[in-house]
């Protein structure tokens, strides 16, 4: 795996068969190996008007909650992430998806902060989602799962945080879809959030982004093995469709510059083109690999639900047409981060957030990090990004009266 890309590599579970991996992935859906909070007869009211009476949310924690309960940070994951931000993933056997940012001595320093990362509502690694067992029918929800929104995901997190006995979070941090959740936290629960770090995100999904998601969804639903969303009961999976969805999405996560640098027009294990439709080019081979490994760790219906949640997100629409209204009276300290080569959530989207925060006279920092690593830069080693997050959280921790993390290495 190169440092230029976030790639789903082959499973390090050497010798594990595909069936083993699939069994492991399936068992994580209802009986996650992480911590899980189960809510029985405790309805979670969703934006769609439907309530989930019995639901669960799976989460990991890192670090220790201090006596004042003031040092808790909620980390929100992106579309295909999970609660395993900084620990070995039980399905893939790989490290946490945000090991670069979260951990002892890291910018989100678990020596000083108590970090909570939960699988989102609608996900597939332990929180209630379409692959979960529907208690009313005794089978997987499939498309009987109500459509969830970013606000619903945050509602579930709020319940978890309350369940953990925490009144006010020190910070909420997340990138991409995770950044949308951060914005929602700040807009709807601002009095419970001291600091917020939305990264590589936007106040709404653009038409272009919805378009890419629709390509992915149609690929999944066009796969005959999708079976109208009931594939689990038939013992099959729409692997080809989900794989194509991932391939298309993966292109949007990287920049053209980085793709060209890594692959160019180089051919895969051959000297000349084959005049056929084999993976002649390295980029084709790479994307096919990305697609095929992704299906080992993700549920196709969850992909439909989570992409839909992102598409529906529109902070302005929720607040009378003006984003600034969402942040009116915000006492939260904000740090907005964007990356120069991100074309999924370009800097202009972050600037919209910043202007809205300015209009609400909120306290805001904004950094644009120069990089050619595209949208996925937030998951990669980006020293300037990490310095900014560390500095912002350190300053906020001082303002909050939390013992600050150690000074950054110079």
């Amino acid at each position: 795996m190169t440092s230029d890309f976030v790639a789903d590599g082959g499973s390090p579970h050497i010798g594990a068969t595909e069936d083993d991996r699939e069994a492991r992935r399936r068992s994580e859906v209802d009986q996650p190996t992480s911590q899980v909070a189960r809510f029985h007869d405790a309805p979670l009211k969703l934006d769609s008007g439907v309530s989930l009476d019995n639901w669960q949310i799976a989460y990991q924690t890192y670090g220790t909650l201090n006596a004042d309960r003031t040092n808790a940070i909620v980390v929100c994951h992106a579309l295909t992430g999970d609660q395993h931000a900084a620990n070995r993933n039980p399905v893939t056997g790989r490290g946490g998806w945000w090991d670069s940012l979260v951990g002892p001595g890291k910018p989100v320093d678990t020596d000083h902060f108590f970090v909570i990362c939960a699988n989102v509502l609608g996900g597939c690694s332990g929180t209630t989602g379409p692959a979960s067992l529907n208690p009313e029918t005794g089978r997987a929800y499939g498309l009987d799962m109500p459509v969830v929104t970013i606000a619903d995901m945050v509602r579930a997190q709020v319940r978890l945080v309350e369940h953990l006995g925490i009144d006010t979070l020190f910070a909420v941090v997340g990138g991409s879809m995770g950044g949308m959740q951060v914005l929602e936290w700040g807009a709807s629960y601002g009095d419970r959030v001291f600091a917020a770090v939305p990264i590589a995100t936007g106040t709404r999904h653009s038409a272009q982004n919805i378009g890419f998601h629709e390509v992915g969804r149609q690929a999944i639903m066009a796969d005959p093995e999708w079976r109208g969303g009931r594939y689990l009961e038939h013992g099959v999976r729409p692997k080809k469709g989900l794989s194509v969805a991932r391939m298309a999405a993966h292109i949007t996560y990287v920049s053209e510059t980085a793709l060209h640098r890594k692959f160019g027009r180089a051919l895969q294990d051959r000297d000349v083109v084959t005049y056929g439709f084999d993976a002649d080019f390295q980029i084709e081979s790479y994307l096919r690999h990305q697609g095929s490994t992704f299906v080992d760790r993700f549920d196709a219906n969850a992909y439909l639900y989570l992409t839909r949640a992102m598409d529906y997100f529109d902070l302005a629409a929720e607040h009378g047409g003006r984003v600034a209204n969402a942040f009116r009276g915000s006492e939260t300290r904000w740090c907005v981060v964007s990356f120069t080569s991100d074309w999924l959530f370009p800097t202009s989207e972050s600037r919209t957030i910043v202007h809205a925060l300015n209009a609400a006279a909120a306290q805001v920092s904004f950094v644009e990090i120069e990089t050619d690593k595209g949208h996925d830069a937030f998951l990669l080693e980006e020293p300037k990004f990490h310095r900014a997050v560390r500095g912002f959280l350190t300053g906020a921790a001082i303002a909050r009266g939390i013992e600050p993390p150690a000074s950054p290495p110079r």
Partner: protein, 213 residues
């Protein structure tokens, strides 16, 4: 027209930024300030430390912004000419424009925005009426470069120079009340309070104005 400050205290700040020292005297403790053109946030850090202010900053240069944020300061990348419009009226107690006015494209519009956003507005600028500047133009016939204005005409970001007298005229034209004014000479000393404006305009190397409307 104005009450001038004649105190003389020794400064611990770099001689070119004696305006920081003056600004610190003008800001009330615990207030909300916006530093427009805040650079690496040095003044914000000073004021947060000594006055317990809640400081926000805008800086055009991204590297300066990243540095300031890494130090825990609330700074955004932005342009005084275009990004002030988003702020609501009276969002801050003080809006500070320190050595930045001369680099804006539309100084008058920027000033209007500052006076709208802040209850008070503090402006410091290098005085183009300073005697060294005048002599350079008079005797050498060249665009002056000084300690505060070190770049040649073709490289400077300072596109709208003014003298103390020009600035006072603009304030009068805009109906702005000059609450206090302080001019500082080459050696970082304040020009005496009882000196006439022409003396200020000749010997003040830089000036700091506290404005309100």
């Amino acid at each position: 027209m104005s009450t001038m400050t004649a105190t003389t205290d020794s400064s611990t700040i770099a001689p070119t930024r004696v305006d920081y020292d003056v600004i610190r005297e003008l800001v009330a403790p615990g207030s909300r300030i916006l530093d427009v053109g805040c650079g690496d946030g040095a003044l914000m850090a000073l004021l947060e430390g000594s006055h317990g202010v809640r400081a926000s900053g805008i800086e055009l240069n991204q590297a300066g912004v990243n540095e300031a944020v890494s130090l825990g300061l609330s700074v955004i990348q932005g342009d005084a000419d275009t990004d002030l419009a988003a702020y609501p009226d009276r969002a801050f107690d003080y809006v500070i424009l320190s050595q930045t006015l001369q680099a804006t494209r539309d100084p008058r519009a920027v000033l209007e925005n500052l006076l709208r956003i802040g209850t008070c507005c503090i402006v410091s600028f290098p005085n183009f009426g300073f005697w060294r500047v005048r002599l350079k133009l008079l005797f050498q016939g060249e665009m002056p470069t000084t300690r505060l204005l070190p770049d040649p005409w073709w490289a400077t970001s300072n596109i709208h120079f003014c003298t103390i007298r020009d600035f006072i005229n603009l304030c009068a034209d805009m109906g702005v009340e000059v609450d206090r004014a302080i001019a500082v000479n080459t050696w970082g000393q304040r020009i005496p309070i009882n000196a006439p404006w022409w003396f200020w305009n000749l010997f003040g190397e830089q000036a700091v104005f506290l404005l309100r409307r």
